[in-house]
């Protein structure tokens, strides 16, 4: 695996003016974002806690509200899944960027990169489905 960038590459230069700085920033950001999302999700003992135990239409006699609350509960469950997933989405992008800067360690190499090379990295990382 070529995930590990060379120490001498410009990746250490924390500038977002090029892909190398972008990779470094993205790496930090995805890590921090992951931790942030984890901490936020940890505020719920369990996923269903976000529902607050059916704060509306807990009485089944309120029939018209039942499908709404059910739908909303389901949506909230999916929202938590999505939150985790979006953090993963970011990390995959970070991984892809890391792979790119590891493969092309100078700007000249980067400029000479072929489309197929990027395709290969994308498919390897699986960042985004085609």
């Amino acid at each position: 695996m070529s995930h590990t960038p060379d120490l001498d590459t410009p990746v250490l230069a924390l500038t977002a003016s090029d892909v190398y700085g972008f990779a470094a920033a993205l790496r930090d950001h995805s890590t921090a974002m992951f931790e942030q999302v984890t901490a936020a999700l940890d505020t719920f003992g369990e996923a269903s806690a976000m529902r607050d135990d059916r704060p509306w239409a807990a009485d089944p006699r309120n029939e018209p509200a039942q499908p709404i609350v059910d739908y909303h509960n389901e949506a909230m469950d999916l929202a938590l899944q999505q939150l985790r997933g979006m953090a993963g989405r970011f990390s995959r992008l970070s991984g892809l960027t890391d792979d790119i800067v590891a493969m092309f360690q100078t700007q000249d190499e980067l400029n000479a990169a072929e489309l197929d090379d990027i395709h290969a990295l994308v498919n390897q990382t699986g960042a985004i489905e085609e």
Binding site: H29, A32, Q36, G45, Q82, L110
Partner: protein, 525 residues
């Protein structure tokens, strides 16, 4: 349509007692927090993308940028759904709060009336008054049910979680990151366990939902008070405000969220009274935004005069119901009409019209990375009534296209009719936004951008059909050619078939209607 036909005012009071609009507001705030979080991520990423574009060009670069753009788009779409759900749930919460306050006030008044009538021993008046109160309560609940269902259909959407491999990619990210970080030696932070949702050590509080009329003990609801939701504060930490400025060139460019707390799983102890508890039964909140016809009795809740058969609390059936303000909501905020805010019934929930977002959020970064004015959070009110989350699987649908795929992971089936309605709505929207919709050319003058699909062909000069000068004979012959079916039209000009005694007093006659002889005798010379 009327729901709750079998329920009395007492039943409905029991039914709405367990409702907790405060917690619903908290849920809506969580939606908003998620939406803000996504928007921030998309903005940061988009800004970075804009910054690095000049440094690397070419087809390979564009391929990579497309990946980044897709992530930005995913975040934006997720934010749109979350923001929309926040607004929709806030709106529904307003209605729920309003209904609960109204029902409680109505029930309180009914109990007063009942006591009064019971003292008088007037059973008949008691029954009649009860029916009136029952009907009023049902009307309130029916209106709220219809309004909330409408909001639900228009504004609540299911988030679309990324693929499982995206979620599992976090582990991939972890291994990658550790090796990377350890190599460059910049960071040795240990990350928290990714399995964040497997703890089930909490016991769900048992809620006796309909016992008694008093509100539930809010302390039973574990978690956090509505004022300080850790989920929101962590997700929308103060650090995100630093994102508003242009990212610096040096130093950590992207957002630096708070370091995960070592023990984030221990929620803070609930405050003694985390939720502004509604008053218990029998203790009215000031003057509820109630019924105008009841207003005279409301302030002191004095026993109203025993209603006679025509002096029920509601004078007319039309006044029995809460009449919402259709299509408009007074005021500039989305705060629901509550019992704490005395009013004269002018602040009813606007049916079919979402109020302004209840969560005041300062406008932030109105311009995104591409110079497009984004809708602010407060600007959610400007969203189109039917929102259109974009399906990831559909690729590059135009913004605003509806979610075409079926919702996934539906744990609880919703009512068939409701589901069909939602689906049908989606189909219509998809068709409406389809770029494949053929356009009819030439209808609107100046629509030169429309590519006509129907070629009318070149103009051909034809001989005018009016060139022959009509003669009197030709006209007579042409008129004589009128088909027989035109007789039906001619009958329109005939005297109507007589219906004796109804329209005219004339006796029906059997002679032909067109014989004018008797009426207008021809003058002989």
């Amino acid at each position: 349509m009327t729901y709750f036909d079998s329920l009395s005012i007492d039943d409905i009071r029991e039914m709405v007692d367990p409702d907790r609009p405060e917690l619903m507001t908290r849920q809506a705030d969580r939606w908003a927090a998620i939406g803000t979080f996504y928007t921030d991520q998309a903005t940061v990423l988009d800004d970075q993308l804009t910054a690095i574009r000049p440094s690397w060009t070419g087809s390979a670069a564009e391929r990579f940028y497309a990946e980044v753009e897709q992530v930005v788009l995913d975040f934006q779409q997720a934010a749109e759904v979350a923001d929309g759900n926040a607004a929709g749930w806030h709106d529904i919460t307003d209605h729920v709060r309003f209904a609960r306050d109204e029902i409680i006030a109505l029930h309180t008044e009914w109990q007063t009336v009942k006591d009064e009538l019971g003292a008088d021993g007037d059973e008949e008046a008691m029954v009649e008054a009860r029916l009136t109160y029952d009907e009023a309560a049902r009307s309130i609940m029916t209106i709220i049910a219809e309004a909330t269902t409408d909001i639900y259909l228009r504004e609540l959407w299911t988030p679309d979680p990324p693929d499982e491999r995206d979620i599992s990619a976090q582990q991939h990210m972890e291994s990658t990151r550790r090796s990377t970080v350890n190599t460059d030696g910049r960071d040795n932070r240990q990350t928290t366990d990714t399995k964040t949702t497997e703890r089930t050590d909490k016991t769900k509080p048992e809620r006796n939902m309909i016992e008694g009329h008093g509100p539930l003990d809010d302390n039973m609801i574990e978690g956090h008070g509505p004022e300080g939701d850790d989920f929101v504060s962590i997700l929308n930490g103060p650090q995100r405000d630093g994102l508003d400025s242009t990212p610096p060139i040096d130093g950590p460019v992207l957002q630096n969220p708070p370091v995960a707390t070592p023990q984030p799983m221990t929620p803070p102890p609930p405050s003694p009274n985390p939720i502004a508890a509604p008053p218990p039964t029998g203790q009215p909140f000031g003057v509820p935004a109630g019924f105008p016809s009841l207003g005279g009795n409301r302030p002191v809740f004095a026993p109203p005069p025993p209603p006679t058969s025509r002096q029920s609390p509601f004078h007319t059936p039309q006044q029995n119901t809460v009449r919402p303000v259709i299509g408009a909501r007074p005021g500039t905020t989305g705060v629901a009409p509550t019992g704490q805010a005395p009013s004269e019934g002018l602040n009813r929930p606007g049916m079919g019209n979402r109020p302004a977002t209840a969560k005041p959020t300062p406008s932030r970064r109105l311009i995104d990375g591409r110079g497009v004015v984004r809708s602010t959070r407060a600007g959610q009110t400007s969203r189109t009534p039917v929102r259109g989350p974009i399906a990831r699987a559909e690729g590059r649908l135009p913004r605003g296209a509806m979610l075409p795929e079926s919702r996934r992971h539906r744990a609880v089936p919703i009512a068939d009719d409701v589901r069909k309605l939602k689906r049908r709505q989606s189909q219509e929207e998809r068709g409406a936004f389809s770029t494949e919709t053929p356009m009819v050319p030439g209808i609107i003058a100046g629509s030169s951008r429309l590519a006509p699909r129907i070629d009318p062909g070149p103009m051909v000069s034809l001989r005018s059909t009016a060139s022959d000068e009509p003669t009197e004979r030709s006209i007579v012959e042409k008129l004589a050619e009128r088909p027989e079916r035109d007789l039906t039209n001619q009958q329109l000009w005939s005297p109507p078939e007589l219906s004796p005694g109804v329209i005219t007093s004339r006796r029906p006659v059997d002679q032909p209607h067109h014989d004018p002889g008797a009426v207008y005798p021809r003058q002989s010379r």
